[in-house]
Symmetry: C2
Subunit: 97 residues, 2 copies
Amino acid sequence: MIRHTVVFKLKSPNNSLEEQNFLNAAKKLANFPGVKNFESLKQTSKKNNFDFGLSMEFASQKLYDEYSNNPDHVQFIQEYWLKYVADFLEIDYEPLK
Amino acid sequence: MIRHTVVFKLKSPNNSLEEQNFLNAAKKLANFPGVKNFESLKQTSKKNNFDFGLSMEFASQKLYDEYSNNPDHVQFIQEYWLKYVADFLEIDYEPLK
């Protein structure tokens, strides 16, 4: 299992229409092939400056790679991620043996 | 639900005895009052410099605060965290309504 997470901050103000548009588009990633246990999250620690998070799991690196290269994912990155996101950090986890 | 996570890098070399000592001590946090769904994780993305992660969930902020202030947790921070950890980032999540 690979858990792919990204914590991020948007350019748009809190509770704006742009924020809602972005979050609605992001939630559709849940339906992409290979994606399991998708979560839309609010980041609440005061020890960093990020406001939101996404978390999803893949059964294998192959499925993760296919998701990354999926044209619908590439389109999401172009149409939403690059336009709306001000800062982000990707963190991926696997169980520690 | 509050998911408390921390991603980190140790001072000690990969696969060292110190690394194993630290990870063994960290796993005992799973048994602290209030901690649910504890996970010891390996950080695998090449897009950041962290090597490990811990994830745990609390049913309420009160239980999270009690964990943070638990003398056994404070002792873990003093005896292990401050001595072994080179860099870290805390990220906390709640479900997005």
